[in-house]
């Protein structure tokens, strides 16, 4: 495996120039490749650096293909559905959240990574506008974890709590906290998140 971003982008450019079926390229090429890496990760034959490098290589190509697809009104599909993810208001720790975002993408979610320190009202707005199947919030400090509770409350106030599956994570979070604030899914780490969320959306 080469994890070569440059080569990945070159393939995308060549495909665009040759007017090949781009949806097929994404599904049978890039997605199949990352899923193979994901399977090897699950089997503990490959590790985080491999999966992050593979994701970077995939993105180098897919980011060139996506605007072309949009121009022709096509899409590579929603996969398991849209998953909005961010680090919650007041917290700027993003590495763990970014690992989870990549792993969810590998698993087949259409991930919208909002970034870090995202105001609770903006996450609620994203739930309304993006209409995701799930929304994940990460907190690394007890002082910001409380905003996961505020988020649950605001979703209810805005009448959209039942429209989305809520997922929480980050070092200080626990199943007990998840239960207390009324979130749907607690995940201890990226793999746990993928396993639980795939099961959840598949019902």
């Amino acid at each position: 495996m080469a994890y070569d971003q440059k080569a990945s982008a070159e393939v995308a450019k060549e495909a665009i120039a040759a007017k090949v079926d781009l949806v097929n390229l994404i599904q049978e090429g890039y997605t199949a490749g990352i899923q193979e890496v994901g399977d090897l990760y699950q089997a503990k034959k490959l590790f985080l650096p491999h999966i992050m490098s593979a994701a970077n290589a995939m993105n180098a190509g897919v980011n060139l293909l996506t605007p072309e697809l949009e121009k022709s009104g096509k899409s590579a599909g929603e996969g398991l559905g849209k998953f909005v993810i961010c680090t919650i208001e007041g917290d700027i720790h993003s590495i763990g959240k970014d690992i989870v975002a990549i792993m969810l993408k590998v698993a087949g979610f259409n991930v919208v990574n909002m970034g870090r320190d995202i105001p609770v009202k903006d996450i609620v707005a994203a739930v309304k506008n993006e209409k995701p199947k799930a929304v994940g919030t990460s907190a690394l400090m007890t002082s910001t974890m409380v905003n996961q509770k505020t988020f649950e409350e605001l979703l209810k106030e805005e009448g959209v709590r039942d429209k989305v599956i809520t997922n929480i994570g980050g070092a200080p979070c626990t199943q007990q906290w998840c239960d207390e604030i009324g979130a749907d899914v607690y995940s201890e780490n990226a793999t746990d998140c993928v396993n639980k969320m795939v099961a959840k959306v598949k019902g």
């Binding site: 007041g90 700027i92 720790h93 400090m141 007890t142 002082s143 200080p172």
Partner: protein, 479 residues
Amino acid sequence: MQRLEVLSKSDCKAIHEAALQVLERTGIKVLDQKQRNVLKENGCNVDEKSMVVKYPASLVNDCLKKCPPSFTITGRDKKKAKKISYDDSMGFANFGTAVKIGTLDDDGRYSVRSTTISDVGTAAKIVDSLSNFDMGVTPCSALDLMGTNKKKDVHEQYEVMLNFTKHSMSDWTPGNLHYAFEFEKAFFGGDEEEALKNPFYTIGAPSTSPLTFGHTFDTFVQEATKFHMPVNAMGMVLSGASGPVFTAGNLVVAIAESIATIVYVQCLNPGNPTWIGSSGTILDLKAGTAACGCPERALISAAYANMGNFYKIPSFIAGPETDSKTIDAQSGHEKTLTGILPLLSKASMCFGPGMLESGLTFSPEQLLIDDDAISMMRFAEAGISVNDLTLSVDDIAEVGPGGDFLALKITMDNIDGQSTPDIFSRTGIDEWIGAGRKDAAMVAHERAKDIVKNYEVDPIDKDVLKSLQAIVTKADKVQ
């Protein structure tokens, strides 16, 4: 015993110079406008668009020299104040701040639950009872107060104040340090000058690696320096994730963040007591976790001790820690590994005792086991005293071949000079079976119960207590 050098003097110099290069070439992203203004006024190169600040080496070196090489830490009991010096032996603080507590029941069943305000007081009380601890850290978080109309941090620190008499590194909410100062003033009859001279709290200022100072960081540094509280300039880099995969590279990023923190602290309040601190380790790239009981963490902490000595600034690092989920062989091994290296490197202060599960769980039993381990490690650190008395040539002559040394007066006089475990067992197996086959965890469990029931923390003067209660009540009214 001679200071252990996991970094030679030339290694320290190389890491310092590499960190200076990082600060001059790459810089730090400073999210707070006020902080960028202060740094610009003091000679930093600031790019307002990217928010990246580049630090000239001359400013960094000047600010490092402004840090006091020693200072005294005190809590509400001034008799227990301790002078901290960059070249002294390592002190110990308990671990904090946990979100879970591990408890053993009388049958040895172990369970874990979220921490409450009551746990904060109980844990602080147990730490107060142990003489090996020179200061404390807020042991756990009052998760039961989270999202209520009570000011969680003010209630936590009130509980700590009731149950703990020494200095502490406390887990305040950013923007609330004025309550800490009000607590201090209450003990000095409202005298601000005395409160400024005798801060009860060290404030941790962790950057967000790699190379980012967020708003929380900024608020803590501004408030702490305003109230003359010692600041712990902490690097918390994870090798392979928020820093380079190599331990040396981790140290370069971490030291760059620590010394850039020191620049800000010393620009705001020249001479402010400052620790150079570390909570760095690896991201275990196979397990996907931040490992706390690994040899890399021990080496990073020891390296920070060496860097503290190089800079002549007291160091405050991660000490006895573990990734074990329970009290077992893994926790025992990892605690000693991560405790002994920084101890022999003569860090100034460490945190860690009482912690399980990579920094998430506090265990009273583990705290007492760690306390026993600290006594052993300190004994080992003291080394072997070699002089005419201890070489014992005359005593050897007196006993002669085939005799014994038991009945000598010098032996009797030195009974207490031996290491004596408090929790660990050195009896024979039959005696151990007769005493109920208790392992260290169960002995510690009984000791913890006894402390909670019988240990009395020095009470707070009635008038002061009323003032503290009034501060808590006032804080709760502010929304």
